[in-house]
């Protein structure tokens, strides 16, 4: 086996990543490199393997083939003198603590207040002093616009607020990389904006982000690069304006057509609503 060298300027590097669940091959050889401070959006129809790929990076699943490096370190396995060993749980936990993850369903800890959610990992995993962590946690909650909700339990917060707390919770570990798994898909439409706003701020501050999303507007505006996936392979990638406005591949084109049709249908619906409201106002 020839050793694959990692280029230091890539924070994340995936080479020929495959993943099978039983006989079902979900990923069929993904290659992807993400540089530090880069924002990459993964787009594609549902079932294309975007979420699975994200979960592999954070070792929610173990990859079947290929390699993933984060910060120059192999994920999930260890190369000792040319032999591969599965990493120990403790080692995996250490690697995970360097990666922040935001889930579609927020997954806040319901028995803890917003502040306790944010403080939990730095106190219990990094063993930092409670007083320091509290100060930082309050700053993070302030950053996501929820300083006044620190003492609330998740059940007392709206979906958008919960997701912003979840982002603050992930940031509290000062991760080198943030993964977002469809962070706005479970939200009511009017709450999507506040979460995307926080993510936009993070991108501007230079956070490295990999975002699985269906929000084309966000991808176009914030991403440095978009990656279009379909049926377990990367179909096309490049700057958002190229891929989204003048796609080369037929599959990308047809996906974007479908998204456009949907958006148009929604827009038509909105327009109709606006028209009715206008008439009422007259």
């Amino acid at each position: 086996m020839t050793a694959i060298s990692t280029e230091a300027d890539h924070l994340v590097r995936a080479v020929n990543v495959t993943k099978s669940f039983g006989t079902n091959e979900v990923l069929k050889g993904i290659d992807l490199a993400v540089d530090a401070k880069e924002v990459v959006c993964l787009l594609g129809p549902s079932g294309s393997g975007k979420t699975t790929f994200l979960r592999l990076i954070n070792q929610m699943e173990l990859l079947t083939g290929g390699r993933i490096w984060v910060g120059g370190e192999l994920i999930g396995i260890e190369d000792r003198n040319g032999k591969l060993y599965v990493r120990k749980d403790k080692d995996i936990a250490r690697q995970r603590s360097r990666i922040g993850m935001v889930f579609q369903r927020f997954n806040l800890f319901p028995h803890m207040t917003a502040l306790e959610n944010v403080m939990e990992a730095p106190v219990k995993v990094k063993r930092q002093s409670k007083a320091d962590v509290r100060k930082e946690a309050l700053e993070l909650l302030d950053m996501v616009g929820l300083a006044d909700r620190a003492r609330y339990y998740p059940s007392q917060l709206s979906g958008g607020q919960q997701q912003r707390v979840a982002i603050a919770r992930a940031l509290a570990m000062k991760p080198e990389l943030m993964l977002f798994d469809e962070p706005t898909s479970a939200l009511d439409p009017e709450l999507v904006g506040e979460v995307l706003g926080v993510m936009r701020d993070l991108a501007q501050e230079g956070t490295t982000m990999i975002v699985v999303t269906h929000e084309m507007g966000f991808a176009r505006e914030v991403a440095d690069r978009v990656v279009f996936m379909d049926q377990g392979v990367v179909v096309e990638e490049g700057p958002p304006n190229e891929v989204l406005l003048s796609p080369k591949e037929e599959r990308t084109k047809s996906f974007l057509r479908r998204v456009k049709q949907q958006a148009e249908a929604e827009a038509a619906h909105d327009e109709e609503l606006a028209h009715i409201l206008e008439e009422v106002a007259d």
Binding site: H111, K124, S155
Partner: protein, 324 residues
């Protein structure tokens, strides 16, 4: 009207206002109340005037020092200790049952199968007889040391300490071991249901933050599982309180019911003694119910309509402020 706001339309004859209707009559309720009142009177009459109750003896029996000692040691202490060990072992069994290791899974299943099958009375009787198996006592040391020593042609033993088996299996310790072992089998199922009730995303989120499986289990999953575990555990505790009366099978004599019955046998007054026992168990389980209510509130944090500490404090502060 004093409560009308400026936006409220006026009430007139053809636009009726507040409803002043007669409520529906419930004659059945009054019949039920009458019947229950009569039955209650009959019951009170029996309790107060029936000489078999012999109330002075009831309270006298309840006040005897062996009875009080039996209550605190044999009933309360054994209940608490059995439940503590039962819950601890039960949670471990549940975690084993849910682990990926087929051996641990199997051991947990066999344990539950065995101890759920044996009636507690039979189990406690067996505890009392276990001394027969260990006539030379129970020792801590190298397993099979006598065999190894024999093979090596040495003499002596490799044991750190030896205990008298009868001292362990007989008496209150034996009672706690037996009841806790039985309880663990039931608690394992309750804890398993509790752990399974917690969304899988909780474990994933905790691990994504860098927590180990164990830490995520202790800090995130189990506290949430407690919400489901506490109510049936309260029932188990009350059942345990009553099952301490089975300690007599070991036999343990420092136990409430045994001591009361002893008084009954001496005085030939059986019924007042049973009343005394009933009162003791009623009082003890009432106290446990209060404890259960507190635990349910504690582990229900963040669920349902409960307000956060801050709001509670604010409300208290407000109340205190208005009291001044």
């Amino acid at each position: 009207m004093t409560t009308t706001t400026e936006a409220r339309p006026a009430v007139s004859d053809d636009r009726p206002g507040l409803i002043h209707a007669k409520p529906v009559r419930h004659p059945g309720r009054w019949v039920a109340i009458a019947v229950i009142a009569v039955l209650t009177l009959m019951f009170l009459n029996m309790v107060i005037f029936n000489p078999a109750f012999n109330w002075p003896l009831v309270f006298q029996a309840m006040n005897q020092s062996p009875v009080i000692e039996g209550f605190w040691k044999g009933t309360i202490l054994v209940t608490i200790l059995s439940m503590i060990f039962g819950v601890a072992v039960g949670v471990v069994l549940a975690v084993m049952r849910l682990s990926d290791n087929p051996v641990l899974k199997g051991v947990s299943w066999v344990y539950t199968w065995f101890f759920r099958a044996i009636p507690r009375y039979v189990l406690l009787t067996i505890m009392g007889a276990l001394g027969v198996l260990f006539t030379t006592g129970l020792a801590i040391g190298v397993p099979f040391d006598w065999k190894i020593i024999q093979w090596l042609g040495l003499s002596g033993d490799w044991r750190i300490a030896t205990f008298d088996a009868n001292a362990i299996f007989v008496g209150l310790i034996g009672g706690v071991i037996g009841l806790a072992a039985s309880e663990a089998a039931y608690m394992a199922e309750i804890a398993r249901a509790g752990i399974l009730s917690v969304d899988r995303g909780q474990m994933e989120a905790a691990q994504a933050l860098g927590m180990s499986r164990g830490k995520a289990m202790r800090r995130i999953v189990l506290p949430q599982a407690m919400r489901v575990i506490v109510p049936p555990t309260g029932n188990e505790t009350i059942a345990m309180l009553k099952d301490t009366s089975l300690l007599l099978a070991i036999p343990v004599t420092t136990e409430l019911f045994f001591q009361l019955q002893a008084i009954g046998a001496r005085t030939f007054q059986v019924f007042p003694i049973l009343v005394a026992a009933t009162l003791y168990y009623l009082i003890a389980s009432s106290i446990l119910m209060v404890g259960q209510a507190y635990l349910e509130k504690r582990f229900g944090r963040g669920f349902g309509t409960q307000v956060s500490e801050d709001k509670e404090k604010a409300a208290k502060g407000l109340a205190a402020g208005s009291a001044k």
